[in-house]
Symmetry: D3
Subunit: 324 residues, 6 copies
Amino acid sequence: MSRMHLLNQSNGQTFEGFCIIKGIAVRSNSKGNPYLDLVLADGEGEGVAKLWDYSRELHGEYNVEDIVKVRGSIVLWKDAEQLKIERIRHVAPGDPVDLSTLIPCAPFDPSWLYDQLFALADTFSDDDIRRLVQYIMKEHREQLLIYPAAVKLHHATRGGLLHHTWDIVELAKSVLKVYPQLDSDLVYAGAILHDIGKLTELEAGPLGLAGTYSMEGQLLGHINIGVSEVAQTADLLGIPKETAVLLEHMLLSHHGQPEYGSPRFPMFPEAEVLSQLDLMDSRLYEMFAALEGIRPGGFTERMWALDNRQLYQHQHGKNENKQE
Amino acid sequence: MSRMHLLNQSNGQTFEGFCIIKGIAVRSNSKGNPYLDLVLADGEGEGVAKLWDYSRELHGEYNVEDIVKVRGSIVLWKDAEQLKIERIRHVAPGDPVDLSTLIPCAPFDPSWLYDQLFALADTFSDDDIRRLVQYIMKEHREQLLIYPAAVKLHHATRGGLLHHTWDIVELAKSVLKVYPQLDSDLVYAGAILHDIGKLTELEAGPLGLAGTYSMEGQLLGHINIGVSEVAQTADLLGIPKETAVLLEHMLLSHHGQPEYGSPRFPMFPEAEVLSQLDLMDSRLYEMFAALEGIRPGGFTERMWALDNRQLYQHQHGKNENKQE
Amino acid sequence: MSRMHLLNQSNGQTFEGFCIIKGIAVRSNSKGNPYLDLVLADGEGEGVAKLWDYSRELHGEYNVEDIVKVRGSIVLWKDAEQLKIERIRHVAPGDPVDLSTLIPCAPFDPSWLYDQLFALADTFSDDDIRRLVQYIMKEHREQLLIYPAAVKLHHATRGGLLHHTWDIVELAKSVLKVYPQLDSDLVYAGAILHDIGKLTELEAGPLGLAGTYSMEGQLLGHINIGVSEVAQTADLLGIPKETAVLLEHMLLSHHGQPEYGSPRFPMFPEAEVLSQLDLMDSRLYEMFAALEGIRPGGFTERMWALDNRQLYQHQHGKNENKQE
Amino acid sequence: MSRMHLLNQSNGQTFEGFCIIKGIAVRSNSKGNPYLDLVLADGEGEGVAKLWDYSRELHGEYNVEDIVKVRGSIVLWKDAEQLKIERIRHVAPGDPVDLSTLIPCAPFDPSWLYDQLFALADTFSDDDIRRLVQYIMKEHREQLLIYPAAVKLHHATRGGLLHHTWDIVELAKSVLKVYPQLDSDLVYAGAILHDIGKLTELEAGPLGLAGTYSMEGQLLGHINIGVSEVAQTADLLGIPKETAVLLEHMLLSHHGQPEYGSPRFPMFPEAEVLSQLDLMDSRLYEMFAALEGIRPGGFTERMWALDNRQLYQHQHGKNENKQE
Amino acid sequence: MSRMHLLNQSNGQTFEGFCIIKGIAVRSNSKGNPYLDLVLADGEGEGVAKLWDYSRELHGEYNVEDIVKVRGSIVLWKDAEQLKIERIRHVAPGDPVDLSTLIPCAPFDPSWLYDQLFALADTFSDDDIRRLVQYIMKEHREQLLIYPAAVKLHHATRGGLLHHTWDIVELAKSVLKVYPQLDSDLVYAGAILHDIGKLTELEAGPLGLAGTYSMEGQLLGHINIGVSEVAQTADLLGIPKETAVLLEHMLLSHHGQPEYGSPRFPMFPEAEVLSQLDLMDSRLYEMFAALEGIRPGGFTERMWALDNRQLYQHQHGKNENKQE
Amino acid sequence: MSRMHLLNQSNGQTFEGFCIIKGIAVRSNSKGNPYLDLVLADGEGEGVAKLWDYSRELHGEYNVEDIVKVRGSIVLWKDAEQLKIERIRHVAPGDPVDLSTLIPCAPFDPSWLYDQLFALADTFSDDDIRRLVQYIMKEHREQLLIYPAAVKLHHATRGGLLHHTWDIVELAKSVLKVYPQLDSDLVYAGAILHDIGKLTELEAGPLGLAGTYSMEGQLLGHINIGVSEVAQTADLLGIPKETAVLLEHMLLSHHGQPEYGSPRFPMFPEAEVLSQLDLMDSRLYEMFAALEGIRPGGFTERMWALDNRQLYQHQHGKNENKQE
């Protein structure tokens, strides 16, 4: 874990600024006085902090994922930095806080992504598919604007689910050009809906970071939850059976094969395309994340989720690319 | 294929009785006169039949799976028996026809099985589960009374789905006795609902024999179809979420593992029991079917669906059992 | 590890009662005086104990698995309870000690189970099978009354092997009812004999807890050992070859498939039934053991031996069942 | 096999035009006179043909894959059309023959594809990669203009290898846009070189249709052959070791995993992209080929090479797409 | 099937000599007269033969695998040679018949092989192992002199089991030299005993050709049968337990892994050596058999039992080798 | 780790002799004075050493893998021995140092092995193969004399690669005798060349111990590197194509199957022999290494690389063998 942005900004002795509470407990010191034992974090790192002589009345109440403004000084404790807090308060309207410096965020504005995808649906030739997609998007607008695509930190960013969806839509463009026989409505609708079940499978807090899986998510999985939702919505909106079944199949098969969670292999080309692009985007995201911080010429550890391979950080074309 | 019951009953030269049309075509003979080219069948065998000088007005129209009464004589054509039909008509109300002699039927009366299972639900402690199970049973009553459990002939009998369900309920009784920690409502409800998606997955004719899979069946599979139906019905009836999810999970996991079509392994004991009893009943059914007709001391062919094993027809205890 | 029953019973400062020695060593303290360093245990927990100034003549000699009566006081050492022993002696005839409070025991009296199973063999139609089963049961009576079914603690209880056998016999009853074509002699005899090789494979102490595998067990496995014993006994008793081979095959195939240790798949229905019921009983035992101590609504850790699944502790029907 | 274009064009009784010899033998009729027994083909079908009273001096010599001009009449022989040839000659310069009507050809002009890809290499930032790619392209120019990508007919077209390469380059464009961290030189060079070993692995005739594998192809495979060629060429041209090894790895890993022929998984993102796009293009090509001729609403046979799945011919968006 | 040696020897019109009956039936011709319909064979081929006007009294009775002397003439029937038999009789003592010209035989004299192996046991350091091996060899001497190692024709020759055993002993010599830590007694004893269960598993006729598997062979397999026999014999001879278990383990594990029939992997080096040499010998035998008849530069068909590979008939060193 | 030979030789208080530097760092003590912090090692063990008041000018500079002569005394630090160095210098010509007591060495003199293998090539019938093998051997002479066969300590010894090669040649002798159809040139040449790519794949220091894999080794693997080198050398020397391809195939397939790194299964008998003997030698080496230090009657830990089996240290024949 790197050092917090908050401390890097500071003069090295005192600090003041915004951060997030990642862990919190009320404890007693050896004299029996209560204090707050905190883990604070921002977009660059984490740190341990103490608020001595804590009083609920005086300092207020705090929970995990709260954004707070803190002031204090840096002390050394057993060779490690510790933050001694002097002041703490909840973030308030009007505070000049930039969420993207506090938590990992997708590199696009979620509202913009949402609007782009909603507008894409407007261009569909098939009005049934448009109605279905836009209905579900509207139903889940609030969640979509913040939800990540996964629980584990390096996969998960605020707005990560929309970001992943958008990537697939972008990747699909070449494929639709090379294979004009493909039905673009199905490909785009499949892309937008394919992970919709994750909004139920994951339990994300207000910051858009998923801490855990829901009971429903564990017992049923996002694929099954998504298929059921599409089936039920199609029923509600009177979508023709064949159209609904095609989209349900695309969701059902988008992990590509049974051992990855799809009881059906993709059975028509548009389903195959969705499944492959989903893999392409998640695989490349993971690979670039794993290579972050590896020196040129170095290898990552063996990656269990990538068939135990080690990745190589080559230096080829790195200079040119940076100039782009 | 053995000889039809119809012919075995007859005097060897003429015949009269009920059978089913398994294949039918209108053709022309060398003189251009139309005739009906038929494959007729009953519970014991099949035969080729001809109705010469066929006239739709005179003889009526016929389709596959129609039950008919026929009269005619047996002729030899290229060393094989052929039925020359003189009279044919549709079965009529009041005809003394016993369906179980015409097609393979489950060895229990489907109405009795249906009533037994419906009554079993009455005994549930949990009223939500009772409502859900009985609602779905009522919705599908007509189909349940005839549907088979599979397409392939030797798995499939009229009423076979209810028969299979009933077996699981019976097998569960010992398990519930040995493991009183199990919730019997879940086990019995899971048994009754587990293959409900087959009513959509298979396309069975009015006789309860499934000729093929539906488009929805092929693209989604009976597991997924069943889960969606339970989810939608639970919504409709206001069943508590946890209860609904438990039952959906039991359907989802009842094939035991991903490579057999269940994206989730059974995650609580009742789901495990359902999955194991489903395997037990289908496996034993197949084994006894395969052993039928094998002489004592002989082996079946290698059975692809049973890990390529050959089954042995031992003679042990056969005499005593027959007396039981 | 929880706290010992012995301490929970006590007044919190001194204790007196029965327990088992799980670990023992003679050591010297800093002054060179010998002391006994012990791990004591009973059915609820374990604890570290010291007998200072140990003298073999005075206090006697002790080994692992000895049952002893101890008296002493509870002291704190580095924040943990330690038992300072003042008196220790071996259990004596007439001591009011209840073994089932000291070690995990099967929930049935092993003698009763043995008699039930022996009596079941009396009912066999086939006298050869009866002779074979009863001969082997008699040969191993002493071991059967105490042997566990496995090494690992949560699978293994005093009398656990008979308990597991009994469960299979009970589970078989529904199966024999649903499939009357099955030969009950074979099913019951297979159940009684299937794990007989474990008496050689495991090295269980006098308390019926298996500490380890024997050299023969590791190199040959209980399946092979059991098959050889049945073959040799059948030879001795003049059992017809076919009968002996059927039973040997049932033992050989009872793990269901090669990767689980059975070089043959079950090749007749009775062998299939035995294999499935063996899996059913061991699987459910493990599942309920894993769920013990999980709060309602919680999940277990991933279980490696169960295909890495997590189990869910649902709350359904828990109240009603307790009343049964 | 459909009817030849040659016959469909004709007046039904006589024909005249160009076709290819797919099978040829000199035989004798019952009187001992020699005749040519031919299988002729063009882009639409095949037919059996006879040239009676064949004389090498008079009619010339012919081999499989020769393009010929034939004239003759259509006769019926055992209910099938047979071509009675009156005149035959080799194609001659200036003949108005369009190769694409005679054999399956890629839907792009191979020269144009070659020039496009060669020009693409001109844009590389890295001059070493440019030199390597263009050297190998020049070395194999003649073969590249005609070689197919595979042996089996429906995968293989004249110029198919360049067509497949071109598709991958096109598909890569979106990927490079979504992931600007990728080095485009490596991706494009990998695409152009990845199947270069097929020019040695396959034995293609002058028409660009591969009849079989070479001995070297069978014993080493196109992946290994290609890697060796890149290694040797890099040596010759003095390409830096790291650059050469990166490209060799991309060839080595482009089948994605050991069981598909790649002893290494892709170990950097550009290699992963190449491997996934290669799969995407070959998979979609096969799927559309399999769906050709399936009626709307129908399913293909189970496809062994696609994990035994059946493909569904949906009707969605078919009308709109045709208008594009 | 090639032409029989019997016919190749003859003058082309009549023949006289020894052969084996591979198929036999008594039939009636169109006039109702009985005749013998035979398939005769010798080491080079098979042929169809007829003995018209067959009379049991006159010609004697014959069964499959009987060796007979026949005389007759060659006639053509539907373009194929048929043997018209004039005289037939059973082989008689003193007949100059060479069995190795009639059936496939191992290229060593079985008696010599048996004596070599028996003498090898005499050299063992461990007298227990010597006693065990020689006891079992003596018990089965008659069978060992003729038994094949497998059912399928091209694996199976008269004396093939001893031949295979001998090869392993020969192959072991280098291994024992390179690894002097190995115990040669165990390696040689394991080699001699490893397939002893095949004498029960296979049902070989008096000629040493196995037509089929026995019931015991199918239900238990030769590995299990062999282990049981070693266990029982060791008991009988009072062999020390450890010695017996080591040998039983070597038999149990000699197929190397569970999916090939060994429930245990080899767990000490001598067992590993046995398992690898068994594979080496059977694999090479199969490969050379498959390559027989393939032209230089050609490939065999895909071989299912060898992971679907095709074998290449290279020409390298073929000339030199022949001179050796 | 055992105690160093250096210390075992000494009088227990002071020591003097040769060893190798395995780890080295210059550090400062609490007063700021520099000292050398060393890990020293010899063939029997490792130890921590300190050279206080280190001065580069006075004591010289040292690196990992340097051989040094040291003198000093043994002190106790936190219950462990530490070496206090008084004198240190680099090994000098004429020093009586025996490398084989300092590092694990193959039990044969590498020069002798090299000469034996080179002389073996002189006996080849095929002069092309001889030229190719001897050319490559000469090219790599310096490396071959020291290179190990693997990175991990217990597989890797100075000269280990030649040792492994020699074992295979020795093992091949019996195989060539049992199967005279094999071409011995191919088998021996394959043995000598099969791991030649390891000289590039591994980065071994001057002592012949491989610390790590090279970048080329990780991205391409020794199989591919070796095949490319053989291809390139064959080109250079004008070796006939077929000969070169046969040898390349033997290298390519010597790991036996795709999941072990060979994209082709062995496709002719000589390639199969090489692959099996390579497995035999590496497997037995690993097994004996794992059994080292296991008491008679004991088992090793489960060995992940050997399918998780545990090995048994039997006592059979151990006495006799030692006398040999």
